[in-house]
């Protein structure tokens, strides 16, 4: 794992929809899955069956920024601000934070799982029950009586 500027190791990744990405090997080590693949000597490009190109592009950029922070090229505060404002900002259903969380879960990137989870929690803090359903694309599978019971039992939280 050379990190000198003369001989940086690059790995190639392939997204689920066939697009190729090149990334610093050290940056890719943020993912436990990729770390294992690299250490086992799997041939490039490393296939990522469950991460599409759009999401992978964002994740690769986040890894690069984390590497920059590690090397002191940017501050921790700057990294955090970028993550909040760029990476995880969308509140749309199937938006950035959820896509990143799913991909981070697949890639086993602890830091990103934590950050995306926090972002999602932050997004849903202001939401009503219906808005949470839309955001997570969940179907209401309660029977009417069951649903009434849920609201009755938890009336204290809805005032």
């Amino acid at each position: 794992m050379e990190t000198s500027t003369c001989s940086k190791k690059i790995v190639q990744l392939r997204s689920s929809d066939g697009q190729l990405f090149e990334v610093d090997e050290e940056a890719a080590m943020s993912s436990e899955i990729l770390k294992n693949m690299i250490e086992m000597g799997m041939p490039s490009p490393l296939p990522l069956y469950e991460v599409d190109a759009t999401t992978l592009a964002m994740i690769v950029e986040s890894w690069n920024r984390r590497l920059q922070e590690k090397r002191g090229e940017i501050t921790e505060a700057e990294l955090e601000r970028w993550e909040e404002e760029e990476l995880l900002k969308s509140k749309e259903p199937d938006g950035d934070a959820i896509c990143v969380l799913l991909a981070a879960n697949y890639l086993e990137d602890e830091h990103l799982i934590d950050r995306a989870g926090e972002a999602i929690a932050h997004h849903i803090k202001d939401m009503t029950v219906e808005e949470v359903r839309d955001y997570f694309e969940i179907e209401n599978d309660f029977e009417r009586e069951e649903e009434e019971k849920v609201f009755q039992q938890n009336a204290w939280a809805f005032h």
Binding site: I33, Y49, E50, E80, E84, D94, I98, C99, L101, L102, N105, Y106, E108, E110, I113, D114, R115, G117, E118, A119, I120, A121, H122, I124, K125, D126, M127, T128, V129, V132, R133, Y135, F136, E137, I138, E139, N140, D141, F142, E146, E147, K149, V150, F151, N154, W156, A157, F158, H159
Partner: protein
């Protein structure tokens, strides 16, 4: 027909074999003969019910019990009353085993209960599992049988159906074969027109090795990853309490943890596999995440939001009723639980009470209402026992402590040969 009749007071179950043509009084006479008591119990004083609340009556004394909707395998409840029977025609035609009615239901004839404590409201998960035990049980069951029924309930809950039969029941005669049992499930949404029929079926195989029970799951059809869950039999003991009337908090927590392992280790990956192989839309993105991660997100939310998420669907309702989570919420909102003076059967109840008290106090004393996410601070400490200073809700995302080290089986899809949750 073979019936199980359980005493409400003594919590013991008597098994009776009565002809379907016998009358209700015949059944009560048969039951009275089984009851041991200092004085003989008159059959007329026995109250029978399918759901603990509504007494079974027949419009005519000669009506056979089969006309009341009773079938072999049903569970009934009985109590003995000293008052004369009231005549009210309430034919209960529901053949299903006992259902729990809301405790506050008014206007119905209620059975006289001798020394019966108020019905304890179980969590949604425990209620679901108790029902599953009643439906699939009916004989002496060991740890393995309890485990198989719980796993079966987890698959049904995830939208699977048993291949063959009516889809909701385990195959007939499964119990004696539990250690060499193989089950086949299919997803409800998969129709019969797909060309590759086998790829719709999830196969489960069980094996017992020493004190460990292992379940392997894979999608039939050849090229598929397998998912394995390996459990120490000692950890499954709490499942046995699902056949009793009371499940302690500790047992409920342990059952909840087992449920998550089954869901994350088998149901969810198999569900996703079948959807992928049949090019079906997989479950909504958020629901594809393991319970472990969903719980992590919930733990970052204030209590009121956990309730709101729990009101979205039945699966999240179960997850949001995790008492460990509510203990954490209580500590975050109201401080240490060591000097806790709020009564309640579980942490969620205590949280709700404390919340209501605090809100009422604020409204009456300060004239402010609680706005979501922002708490107005009182100028005086009104309740010395509570820590009223709220956690700071910053605009910047708060940092979380490092993630708990749970083995998350969902992470290891598509790697051929997979080790699932291990307890």
């Amino acid at each position: 027909m073979k019936l199980r009749i359980r005493s409400l007071a003594a919590k013991e179950t008597i098994r009776i074999d009565a002809p379907g043509s016998s009358s209700l009084l015949d059944l009560k006479t048969l039951l009275a003969g089984h009851l041991s008591s200092a004085a003989p119990i008159p059959p007329e004083s026995i109250r029978l019910s399918l759901n603990r609340d509504d007494e079974l009556f027949s419009s005519s004394p000669d009506d056979p019990i089969s006309s009341l909707g009773l079938t072999s395998g049903d569970l009934l409840f009985y109590s003995v009353s000293s008052e004369p029977q009231t005549v009210a025609v309430t034919k209960n035609l529901d053949p299903a085993p006992s259902r729990e009615l809301p405790a506050d239901q008014k206007g119905k004839d209620r059975m006289e209960m001798d020394a019966k404590p108020a019905a304890v409201e179980n969590s949604p998960l425990i209620s679901l599992l108790k029902k599953a035990m009643e439906v699939e049980g009916g004989r002496a069951m060991g740890i393995l049988e309890h485990f198989v029924i719980t796993l079966h309930a987890a698959f049904l809950d995830s939208g699977f159906f048993v291949v063959g039969g009516d889809g909701s029941r385990l195959p007939l005669g499964w119990a004696p074969e539990a250690s060499t049992l193989s089950l086949r499930y299919t997803l409800g949404q998969v129709d019969g027109e797909m060309f590759d029929l086998d790829a719709k079926v999830a196969v489960l195989k069980f094996s017992v090795m020493g004190q460990y029970i292992m379940v392997y799951g894979y999608v039939a059809g050849g090229s598929s990853d397998s998912y394995r869950v390996c459990l120490d039999a000692l950890k499954l003991v709490p499942l046995g309490t699902l056949n009793t009337d009371s499940v302690s908090d500790k047992e409920e927590k342990e059952i909840f943890e087992l449920w998550k392992v089954m869901k994350d280790g088998l149901c969810l990956p198999l569900q996703i596999d079948i959807c992928l192989k049949n090019r079906l839309p997989s479950p909504p993105c958020f629901m594809r995440l393991s319970d472990d991660i969903k719980t992590k997100i919930l733990s970052s939310l204030p209590g009121v939001n956990v309730v709101k998420v729990g009101a979205t669907c039945s699966e999240l309702r179960q997850l949001c009723s995790d008492d460990n989570l509510w203990k954490q919420k209580f500590e975050e909102e109201f401080g240490s639980t060591d000097r806790m003076t709020i009564a309640g059967r579980n942490w969620k109840e205590r949280f709700a009470r404390a919340w209501k008290e605090e809100t009422t106090c604020k409204r009456s004393c300060l004239g402010t209402t609680r706005r979501f996410g922002f708490v107005s601070r009182p100028s005086l400490p009104l309740f010395p026992d509570f820590d009223l200073s709220p956690p700071a809700h910053r605009v910047v995302l708060p940092r979380l402590p490092s993630r708990q080290q749970f083995p998350s089986p969902y992470n290891r899809l598509n790697r051929g040969g997979h080790f699932g949750g291990m307890l």
